[in-house]
């Protein structure tokens, strides 16, 4: 295979429709590291990839390590890159979001961040 053809093949592979990849957290609501008021009633996480619903989870913990989400995390049926979970009534303070997701090609990624609820 010529070098030119090899490069072209590699570039074409980049846009192959079948390809998938690791899911990175694209954005969140409440936003990563933000302070919000009033307290949100739902957490939404948008990822760079569509997720495997059965193996994508998120939980929200208060500073004492108690879980304060509704334990009903689900991938949005209309947008498979969106993971959402309801929140209990949150008082002022810091909350840690811990997520672990698997993209549709079984690549796993994980992460955590903090948001705060203001007075």
């Amino acid at each position: 295979m010529s070098l030119r053809r090899a490069i072209a093949t590699a570039l074409l592979a980049c846009v192959a429709a079948q390809a998938s990849a690791h899911a990175f957290l694209d954005r969140a609501e409440p936003r990563v590291g933000s302070t919000v008021h009033p307290a949100p009633r739902e957490l939404m996480l948008w990822f760079s990839q569509e997720l495997e619903p059965a193996f994508s989870t998120v939980k929200v913990l208060d500073t004492a390590g108690r879980r304060v989400d509704g334990a009903n995390a689900q991938v949005d049926p209309a947008d498979h890159s969106l993971l959402r979970v309801s929140l209990q009534a949150l008082g002022p303070g810091a909350y840690t979001v811990v997520w672990r997701v698997v993209s549709v090609d079984t690549h796993a990624s994980e992460g955590e961040f903090v948001f705060r609820v203001g007075q």
């Binding site: 090899a6 592979a13 390809a19 990849a21 690791h22 990175f24 495997e52 059965a54 079984t106 690549h107």
Partner: protein, 307 residues
């Protein structure tokens, strides 16, 4: 539906926990992966010596790495070089083939740490003499490390996106010296020249600041594409010959940025010589790097043998 177990999910190229280490251009990566660098284009100018004029060196390189098991990979790389010495004809050709193997023996997700050990083999005699390829092989055992700073205290959140990677290796020529005998055409006298081939201590470091990490895990500061996928970095390369007469130390700094996408990354760096032996003027390099595990997750992008 009742979920009874986790899928056979995989963490791959450059991940330790939530830390993503990009493939750096000058410093070999601390992790094993299925990846392809094609091409890496570099240009710089050497410093003139008593024997050689200042030379513009331009190279076109390709490297591929393939995981045999999730933690063990082999690699192969080739470089085509164009050398343009001042006042002399240009010459070009392939440098020696480079083969390697690497074992990632430690990964700590919480500490965002990776350790690996590897062996490089510059296969003597496979390159062109026109570009100075050695007729003998050189073996380079190397230790690799990567460490993200995400475990720093919450009081310094903006330091968490930093990461440090590095390599420590020793290049060991398989031939200690080369003896050349010449005949003086006028007198007929024989003269013998012995060129020593010292070992070379090879150090490489990269200090990275991941805007991906900042946005996703520390604070969403509102960066948008393409900046939210960038990793500015500084790399340092030091080569110190020792034994068999030694030689001058070469120290080079690389300043640049890597943009990482879903399936590939692009890196651009300025090459800054730090001493007179390292070169003259500022050079540059650019690299296109493909994540084969993401492009072809069900074929060549996965380990041949799974644990």
């Amino acid at each position: 539906m009742v979920v009874t177990g986790a899928p056979a999910s995989v963490f791959a190229h450059g991940f330790a926990g939530k830390r993503f280490f990009p493939a750096t251009i000058a410093t070999d990566d601390p992790f094993v992966a299925d990846e392809l660098s094609l091409p890496t284009i570099s240009t710089s100018r050497t410093f003139a010596t008593a024997d050689e004029p200042s030379t513009r060196e331009t190279s076109f390189a390709a490297d591929i790495s393939k995981r045999i098991t999730p933690n063990f990979a082999i690699s192969a790389g080739g470089v085509y070089q164009w050398l343009s010495p001042e006042g002399q004809p240009s010459r070009n050709g392939f440098d020696n083939l480079e083969l390697g193997l690497k074992y990632q023996f430690y990964t700590n997700a919480a500490a965002e740490a990776i350790l690996s050990a590897g062996l490089g083999w510059d296969v003597g005699g496979t390159g062109s003499k026109a570009v100075g390829s050695e007729p003998f092989s050189t073996l380079t055992p190397t230790f690799f490390f990567g460490k993200g700073f995400g475990d720093l205290p919450e009081s310094v959140p903006y330091l968490k996106p930093f990461a440090l990677t590095g390599t420590v290796g020793v290049a060991i020529p398989t031939r200690p010296n080369t003896t050349t005998t010449t005949v003086d055409p006028d007198t007929g006298e024989l003269s013998t020249n012995i060129e020593q081939h010292p070992n070379v201590l090879q150090l490489g470091f990269s200090l990275q600041y991941s805007l991906i990490y900042l946005q996703s895990f520390v604070k969403d500061v509102g960066l948008t594409a393409p900046f939210n996928r960038m990793i500015p970095l500084v790399e340092l390369s030091i080569q110190k010959p020792f034994g068999r007469g030694g030689g001058p130390t070469i120290a080079t700094l690389y300043l640049g940025v890597i943009w990482a996408g879903r399936y590939m990354q692009v890196g651009v760096e300025a090459i800054v010589p730090l001493n007179g032996n390292s070169g003259r003027g500022v050079g540059g390099q650019v690299q296109l790097h493909f994540f084969l595990d993401d492009l072809f997750p069900k074929s060549i992008g996965r380990p041949i043998f799974r644990d």
